[in-house]
Symmetry: C2
Subunit: 147 residues, 2 copies
């Protein structure tokens, strides 16, 4: 927890600080990454969680298109660049301890690489796990389109 | 990505597998932890993100009360045990690559240690960051009550 984040805890609604000052207090993890949760802005559906580095966060805020950092490919990616299923940013919020981001987005079609709307499709129930949603698009068709 | 998770991608809605089999495929990180997003089940508000180890996940599913793993205190905690602001589990879903959990919960009062309903209260705007919600309860009063 940084001193600024500690001070903000007691500040009233609508207080403002410079974006630069707050970004300097974002607590990226040891790999320089921050988890970012994407939520469809109007329905409230949580679509996915992925990782951002500082560059992905800045590009997202600057362009209004959501960028993440791929840990497996070790590079920045713009959501939808290979699937065509874009994410446009509506708003972004940092949490109290500065180490998680919540994005309100407008998601085109499925957010999930399986073709489902949301990545959270494995419901853990009393003694079984159930697939709780169907693909909107055949995943084989998802990765032939760019954006 | 495990073989089971890869197979589930193509399975239709309502397919079931044993809970034990799916839990064995949860991909905890190098510290044995998994990020868990808590969402208020009826309003859709994203309240917080915290970490679970295997024991926290199992206790949560078994008891219907949400447990997390505190990285700073290096121990399991039941949400609300010191603040009185409990989280009751409505449902839990794992994501497509088995490394993030989404919890639908019934949250009593504020989820945030600052007394705000949600931890995501720092809105990152064009050139400033704005505090977007007010405390429901004075945080000094939060940690005098158990649950």
């Amino acid at each position: 927890m940084t001193d600024l984040l500690k001070r903000l805890e007691r500040e009233p609604c609508d207080s403002r600080h410079s974006l630069e000052e707050v970004l300097a207090n974002v607590r990226f993890n040891g790999d320089g990454l921050l988890p970012a949760i994407a939520q469809q802005h109007d329905s409230g559906e949580v679509l996915m969680m992925a990782w951002m580095n500082r560059e992905a966060l800045e590009e997202t805020l600057r362009t209004g298109r959501v960028y993440y950092y791929s840990r497996s490919r070790a590079k920045l990616w713009r959501k939808g660049e290979s699937s065509g299923q874009q994410q446009h940013l509506k708003s972004a919020s940092l949490d109290c301890d500065g180490d998680t981001l919540l994005l309100q987005v407008e998601q085109t079609g499925p957010a999930c690489h399986t073709g489902r709307r949301s990545c959270f499709y494995l419901s853990l129930e009393a003694d079984s796990a159930r697939i709780s949603s169907a693909a909107l698009i055949d995943p084989d068709e998802l990765y032939t389109k760019g954006s």
